[in-house]
Subunit: 224 residues, 2 copies
């Protein structure tokens, strides 16, 4: 059954794929059992956090022993829905979009890009990586006729919100957005952002402080 649990924190869910990845590695190495202690060491996470996270979903371990690697991995894959294939539509087949199509990391994990859209007449109708590029003007109709599970947005920032709105109107409930914009979606739609510039811009905060103190080899700030 695996009945829908009521209210599991988002941060917990976002950690499960990380656990699954580590477990897959352990299984590939032939490990059969692992403790929360070991797993935590591997991941830089406290053992208590791992146990607490897992406890939202059931009791997967054996006291005195630990977790069966293969069993826990299967459970996590089931919980996350990684035991099926997911159909993605890519919007934007420019340089970034083509890199996404060419990326070999999605399909082994069950994510298949099955549709591609663009607005450039030079690209519409051409085949890229087994896909015929469709006109983005037909996006809504096309997705209504033959739905996908997830939309990937890889268009320039100026068009991204518009594309996101169209995806939502077409019934897509999960969107992965590569465009560097502040985007909003209605409640109930899940949007994740891939934004390297944002990541860099928060790293520079720390770098700046390192550099500004760099000269004066140590103890320069007030106390201790």
């Amino acid at each position: 059954m695996t009945v829908n649990p009521p209210d599991i924190p988002g941060v917990v869910i976002s950690r499960l794929p990380v656990y699954a990845r580590a477990l897959a590695l352990l299984r590939a190495e032939g490990r059969e059992v692992v403790s929360s202690q070991e797993l935590g060491q591997e991941l830089g996470v406290t053992p208590a956090q791992i146990r607490k996270d897992l406890s939202y979903f059931g009791r997967f371990g054996k006291q005195g022993r630990g977790y069966n690697v293969g069993l826990l991995l299967d459970q996590l894959r089931t919980i996350l829905g990684l035991d099926r294939e997911w159909r993605l539509a890519l919007v934007g087949v420019g340089r970034l979009g083509q890199a996404i199509l060419g990326y070999g990391g999605f399909s082994p994990q069950g994510f298949k890009v099955v549709r591609a859209f663009d607005s450039d007449p030079a690209r519409i109708g051409t085949a890229i990586d087994h896909l015929i590029v469709e006109d983005v003007a037909d996006l809504e109709e096309s997705l209504r006729n033959d739905p996908v599970d997830i939309g990937i947005v890889a268009v320039p920032g100026d068009y991204a919100q518009e594309v996101i709105d169209t995806l939502v109107a077409s019934g897509v409930q999960s969107i992965l957005n590569y465009a560097p914009i502040v985007s909003r979606v209605p409640a109930g739609v899940h949007l994740k952002q891939i934004d390297p510039v944002l990541e860099l811009q928060s790293m520079t905060y720390h770098l700046k402080r390192l550099q500004d103190q760099g000269g004066q080899d140590a103890l320069s700030s007030g106390k201790a």
Copy 2:
């Protein structure tokens, strides 16, 4: 001066670039003043959160009026260190690495990729986008002679931890990792992950629940 404030939560810092982006947009539109109310609406964030976040760094607003767009933007850029140029080294010039080099979004924000490394003899010594690809075997020596601020890792997963360790050994304190691995760095080094698969894998959690209930229009799970 802008003296190093003691302990500002990481989540606060990660929101500042988002505020800065929204402010840059407002400025481009000619807006001169904005309230936390409006800005919050734009970003899907509470006004109180914006005010609290900003209050860690100073008092930038005027009561009864709001924030001067240009002034606040400049302050944020200074706080984040976006008022200078940052030098990046890219490790891995395969398909992904080339997409990163070709991405036009970094340099307008002051992030210049000034070095590129690879292990493939066919690529070493060739020029890509103004850069001569260096041998990754020389990574540490090269970076010691001529340091960069940030390292970008775009090698296959199997080599990524090794590359990250070498970057750290070379004195790099901020790393942006595109490889889909669970990586660890010593305390003091800042590592950010760009990992679309991880994002997708947490989105499927919600999708699965939508789908599993999809058929049976409502109330079907055990109790309540």
